[in-house]
Structures are given as C-alpha cells and as structure tokens.
Amino acid sequence: MITIRCFAQVREILGCETRELAPSHTPQCASDLLKAIAGERAADLPMPLLVAINCEHASLTSPVKDGDEVAFFPPVSGG
C-alpha cells in the first residue's frame, strides 16, 4: 500500500488527513496519486503544491512505489 498524507490547506480542501491507496501495476508518479485522491478538487489546491516522499522533499513527477509515504502540502513556513 501507499500512504498518502495531506497537510494545511491541502488537508482542509480535500478533507483528507491520511489515506491508503493500493499501488497500480503501471509506473506511478506523485501526481497520479494526487489525481486519484483530489479528482476535480485538484483545481482548488494552492499552487505551488509541494510533495514529499518518505519524509524528503520531492516533486509531482517523482516516481512512487509500494510502501512509500507520499505527502502533499502548500509552501512551508518554519521558524
């Protein structure tokens, strides 16, 4: 399974904090997962949208595989 986590505005807009998705049999990238969980609401998401895979910054075109944790969130403001 692939674990998907959403934070901040992404969490609010999609109404989704954590979700599990079965990996497809064809190669997938992060944006494929986003389409699967966001559907038409993808248009409402803040841009740029940031992606992390297994707790490291990645991009929407980064490949994902079974067992990965993929997170979607808006630009950050630490400190």
């Binding site: 740029p48 707790c55 944790e69 950050v76 400190g79």
Partner: protein
C-alpha cells in the same frame, strides 16, 4: 546536534547551558516569537501544524549540512507546534563555534533553511478570523 519538537515553552539559556560546549568562543542564538501584529491585523495566536516525522528528519539534515559547512561545534534546534499566543517563543536555534563569523553564518543558514524546507504551516488567529501565513518553497525545487 540536538533537535527537539515540542508543544511546551522552553528557556533558551537553560537549554544552551545544559550542552556545555567546550572550545567554543562564540555562541549565536535566534529566538523567533509570535508577533502581535501582521499588516495591521492584531494577532492573538498562531496555530502551528507540522509533519512530525518529516520535520524531525528535515531538521536533522539541515543541521548536519550547516554544522559541516560552517564548522560548528554544536547545534541546538527547538521548534514548538500547536497554539501559541502572541509574544510566545516559537523556535530556538543556537550554534557554537570557535569564531564569531562561523557562528553568525551557521545560525542564519539554519534559520533560513527552516523557513523554506521545514514542514511547518502557520495560521494566524486575529479578531477578523484565521488566515494561513503564506509559505516558502525549497530553493532547490525552484
């Protein structure tokens, strides 16, 4: 290197003293606090959301890279999350080095990296309502 994520407040001097870094001639600390106004809105509180597992990993990567680049003897980062009232401390970054230039450069590099790379999100609570603080994007992602 000490990285701590916590809801509770901290005493910057007590935390620094507890480390007792030998050989350091310079120590530079940054303390970030919740401001009381933002663009004329009165800020009552800040809700800080984060991604705990990634925050810890990312702060560790930031700290290790900067410690190495600026030859810091020690690095301490404490970042709070949850609801913080105005004037409360949010973050402490303290670094130790033999010389002052390294300490200033290293501390600032960590604080800058926190702003653009650490997965925290802030919502400002004012009498007019709650507003997400615009965030930043890691430089290497453009």
């Amino acid at each position: 290197m000490i990285i701590r994520l916590q809801a509770e407040d901290f005493d910057p001097e007590r935390e620094a003293q507890a480390l007792d870094v030998r050989g350091a001639g310079a120590r530079v600390s940054f303390v970030g606090t919740v401001r009381d106004t933002a663009e004329d809105r009165r800020i009552e509180a800040l809700d800080i959301e984060h991604y705990p597992e990634m925050t810890r990993a990312e702060l560790g990567r930031i700290g290790a890279a900067v410690q190495d680049r600026h030859r810091l003897l020690e690095v301490l980062v404490i970042h709070r999350y949850g609801r913080l009232l105005s004037h409360e401390r949010i973050v402490l970054v303290t670094v130790w080095s033999a010389h002052r230039a390294q300490a200033f450069a290293g501390c600032q590099a960590i604080v800058d990296a926190l702003k653009t790379r650490a997965p925290f999100w802030k919502k400002e609570i004012s009498p007019e309502g709650a507003v997400w603080v615009p965030g930043q994007t890691p430089q290497d992602l453009g």
